[in-house]
Every structure is written in structure tokens, then in C-alpha cells.
Symmetry: C2
Subunit: 311 residues, 2 copies
């Protein structure tokens, strides 16, 4: 038998990470030092909820809506943290300010945590709060934002609400990941999953909208109630565009005049192709462009802005 | 505006963890030093597969079967690691030997990992292998093993195979966690989830078996193909007990002569109550007891044992 290897004192991690700042266990840390125990049930059972808010030109956008959803999600999962809403807001603020990022992707997470004896009873675990700010990221890259994304509609079922409540933002993404690989094989940029009726559900990190004969619509079942989705509802109201939450079939999507997707990671993003077929003229639709522009304009509205005080 | 807090150099973690040894990034570490970046998609998207093998009286039990399942799962998820089967076996061996544990719970994991620019494309990530050995744990505690567990059959749908392949061992447990809280509210010890037909599926970390009129059966759809489940099939064959994989209804479970559950974490574990009703006589069933005893006897069979060489 060979000699056993030596036990190291400390983990050395040679990987590269993006710039950014994290908060955990009362400490603000460079993102490359923000590490979670491999025994945390947020990892081992994906027993966690989270939210992502973005900072644009030095201000949070719709921070209150993200805080609402996060605290509601923790309640649904029987989790609690030693910080109230104002304290969480302050932590997020500090992460961004310390990172110096003017445009940031800010994620905040509550995990089930760990228990000293690795108990399998979730009630025995001490929940853990983590937050981090890294550079703003998008579902679509620059070229895709300019030319429109190519979506593939897969036959993969989005995890049903009878299993996992989609309105509690969660990390159950293996269905999404599988759909992405299917989409890549078909030459598409990203994927759409279906619901139990075979209708359009959502994609990896985004909601989907179609426009037909001037009316906007988006699915209501088995989807995350996205904050950007909500913003689009408000924009439609303001622009007096009809906007409906309804079942959308694959053929509704293929035959739409315009299609776009929404996410905190990227905002309103145009779609130019579905399953290899051009949508409308194949260029970014007129109404989609108006909604996109208005979405970014709204970032200057004081009611949605929470400015960051950089040191 | 207040002054910003100070950025710490290193994360200080005051929590207590069980004893144990982990391997990651080429290093063997005390378990309390084994930490995963908060940006790892194994955490942020639960984009990971894993397996758990146990060590009993200084030897791995059915190590080959767990390695088979793990490597198959990685293939299904388009993941790869720089270690082959023999190297993974050696790493697991070293974790156990360095921990000194005679009875251990040994988990090995492949996560999607991270990419330096936080790309959302899973193909850009560098996959990460993690292993750890901690003290052997069980779904059932000592008292439950002696008196039998109390199961609650919930109406929560186990995540369907059309969403996430249950034969690729994964961390999507929010349906299980929700079911556990339902079970606790009903005074039960643990929970059963149902499949799309309303039949019995599985519970948090275990398969379910019923015995009726001398015949053993267990569900085949929407369940993990457990190694302990497989061992029970072999035991039944050896004992000339009829054993079927078939749909099992809630009423089949309630009217069974005996019920037991199986998991690497605990082996074969008796059930004495379902939904508050006693199963059979309410004591541990005769056949269940024989199967349990044989399960532990089999740990001495050379064909299933891979001994650990402690330093």
C-alpha cells in the first residue's frame, strides 16, 4: 500500500473569478474569497432561495420588488436570517460600493445552511445569508442584443409548480441546462421549455413575450414572476399596448410578429429567430425596440432608483 | 452617508462542522476547510451530479456500482473531470483513510464549476470534482430503526423525469424539503412524494418497498435507481421472495403487511406507520427484519467489499 497523501491546512484555489465583493458571516470579502461549505444544504440539496437585482449607472433598479420577493421566498421555505429588510438593503449597498461597480449584478441568497452533526432534518440547520456584487451580465451578448436571439423550443418540461413553486426563486436548473444543450445542438442561442400542456413556459433565466397584431402576451403558468416581466406590464400600460397573461403555444411563438425575452440579467432582449425560422421581418421588431428603449429610460425614474454612495 | 465597512482578506467561519476529510483542487483538507466558490454553478444552478458510497467496518460497500452511476451521470450532463475511475476510487480511499473513520458516508460530486467571466454558457465552465468522507449517517435514527419510521404520504409531485432525469443523481430537493415540512406538521418522521399518476414515488433520499402476501414490490417510475434498492432485489432473489417493480398506490402502501425504505444512508430501514396508521402489527415485520439482517451480513461478502488501508 502506498503512503497516504498529506492533509493541507488551507484550501488553495488557483481558479480565476470575476471582480466583485461578497458578504457572508458578517464579513465583506473579495469575491474570490467567498466560499460556501461543501456541507451547506444550499449546495447539497439546492435548498435555497435567492434574488438578483441590478445596479445601473450607480443606482439599484426596483430594489424593493426584489426584496419583497426574497423575503416572501424565505418565508415559504421556512428560513430566517438575522437581518431585516433594511439591513439586507444596506449589505447589498455595501457590496456594490466596495466593489466600485457602476453597473452590477447583485445576487442575495438564503441557504438552509449546515448543522454541526450533518442532521438531515432541515429544522436543525442554521440558515445562511450570502450576497455578492459582480459586473453586470446579460442573457444576451452584444451581437445578440443587436441582431436578436435565436431561440429553440425544446420538449423539456419546466419543473412543474406541483413539485417546486416557481414563484419562489430557486436554483433548480437541470431542466434548463438540458434544454440549453439541446438548443446548442440545433444552432440556437438559448432554449424555451414547455409546461405540462405543451405550451411555452420560460427559458434559462428569462420570461418570454410575443406580440401579435399589436397585442403583447406572456405565459402565466409554471413561470417565475419576473421583475422585468412586471416592468414590461407597466410599460405596456403606459404605452396603451394591450398586454395579456395567457397560454402561448409553440405555433403562437413561431407565428408572432415580434418576440422578446426579459430578465434582470439583460433587461428586455429581442428575439429574431425561433427554431431556425425568422420572426416577423427577421430584424428587431418596432414595438420590441420601443419597449426596450423605455425599459432603459425607466432606470432614470426616481421611483425605481436607489442610488449607491460609493466611498 | 456612513463610512463603508472594511473588506476582510479572508473568510472566517465560526460554524461547527462534523469531523471528516475532503478532496478538492488536488488537495486533501479537513472538512471545515472544504469550501466551494459561491459562483460555482453547482451551487447557483444546482448544476451537478454526485454519488454517496458508504464505508462499513473499514471497507467500501459496492463501490463499483456507485462509480458506475457517477460516471454515467457526468456523461449525461456533459461534464468531465481530470480523474479516471481508478483515480476517483483512490481519492475516495484517501479521504476515508485520512479521516480515520471506520464507518463513513462518502460523497463525491462533479459540479459545472465556474468560468472566469461568469459566462452563462455551461460549455464555458471548468467542471469541478469534490469528494468528502464524514461519519456514517442514516435517514433513520436509532429509535426509528428499532421501532420503525412513521411515513406521511404527501400530494407533492416528485420532479418528473420529463424535467430532470431521476437516474442521474442530483441535488434538486425542494420538492423533498416541502414534503418533509408537511410530514413534520402531521407528526410523521419523513415523507413520501407521488408521481404524475398519484402513485407512490420516493422520499427524501430513499426508495420505498412494500410486502403483501409474501411478495415484495417497489415503484419503478420517477425514482432514483438506488444501489441499496438493487441490493434488496438481490437479497429477495437469494431468499426466493417474489420481487416486482410496479406502480404502488397510496392504498397499497396503507394496506401492506410490511413496509421498509432503503438508502445508502442507513441501509434497509423499517416503517411501522403510514399516515398515522399502523402497518401490519405495528412492529417491525418478519420479512423486513430478515432482509435488514441479510443486508448487513452482505457487508462481509468479499465481492462487495473494497477495504480501506488506514495509514
Amino acid at each position: 500500500m502506498s503512503t497516504l497523501p498529506k492533509l493541507s491546512d488551507r484550501h488553495v484555489d488557483a481558479r480565476n473569478y470575476p471582480p466583485g465583493v461578497s458578504f457572508m458571516d458578517g464579513q465583506y470579502l473579495p469575491i474570490h474569497e467567498a466560499k460556501l461549505s461543501v456541507l451547506d444544504y444550499g449546495f447539497l440539496h439546492s435548498d435555497a432561495t435567492y434574488d438578483v437585482v441590478h445596479v445601473w449607472k450607480g443606482a439599484f433598479f426596483r430594489l424593493d420588488d426584489h426584496l419583497d420577493r426574497f423575503f416572501r421566498g424565505m418565508g415559504e421555505l421556512h428560513m430566517s436570517i438575522p437581518y431585516d429588510r433594511a439591513q439586507v438593503a444596506e449589505i447589498l449597498h455595501n457590496c456594490v460600493a466596495l466593489s466600485g461597480l457602476e453597473n452590477a449584478y447583485v445576487e442575495f441568497i438564503c441557504t438552509r445552511g449546515t448543522s454541526p452533526d450533518f442532521s438531515r432534518d432541515p429544522r436543525d440547520a442554521e440558515n445562511r445569508f450570502i450576497a455578492f456584487a459582480i459586473p453586470f451580465g446579460s442573457v444576451a451578448n452584444k451581437q445578440q442584443l443587436e441582431k436578436g436571439l435565436h431561440l429553440a423550443v425544446t420538449d423539456i418540461l419546466r419543473i412543474p409548480a406541483l413539485s417546486v413553486d416557481p414563484t419562489v426563486k430557486n436554483y433548480h436548473w437541470l431542466d434548463m441546462i438540458k434544454a440549453l444543450y439541446v438548443a446548442y445542438d440545433l444552432g440556437a442561442d438559448t432554449a424555451i421549455l414547455v409546461d405540462g400542456s405543451g405550451d411555452i413556459s420560460e427559458g434559462p433565466g428569462f420570461n418570454v413575450f410575443v406580440i401579435k397584431d399589436g397585442a403583447v402576451s406572456t405565459p402565466g403558468a409554471s413561470v417565475l414572476l419576473g421583475v422585468t416581466r412586471q416592468t414590461v406590464f407597466e410599460i405596456c400600460k403606459e404605452m396603451r399596448l394591450e398586454c395579456q397573461v395567457r397560454a402561448i403555444s409553440r405555433s403562437d411563438l413561431l407565428n408572432a410578429d415580434e418576440v422578446f425575452i426579459t430578465s434582470t440579467a439583460g433587461g428586455v432582449m429581442p428575439v429574431s429567430k425561433v427554431d431556425g425560422r425568422s420572426i416577423g421581418s427577421g430584424a428587431i421588431g418596432t414595438q420590441s425596440k420601443r419597449i426596450m428603449d423605455r425599459y432603459w429610460q425607466l432606470h432614470d425614474a426616481p421611483r425605481h432608483r436607489t442610488p449607491v454612495s460609493y466611498a
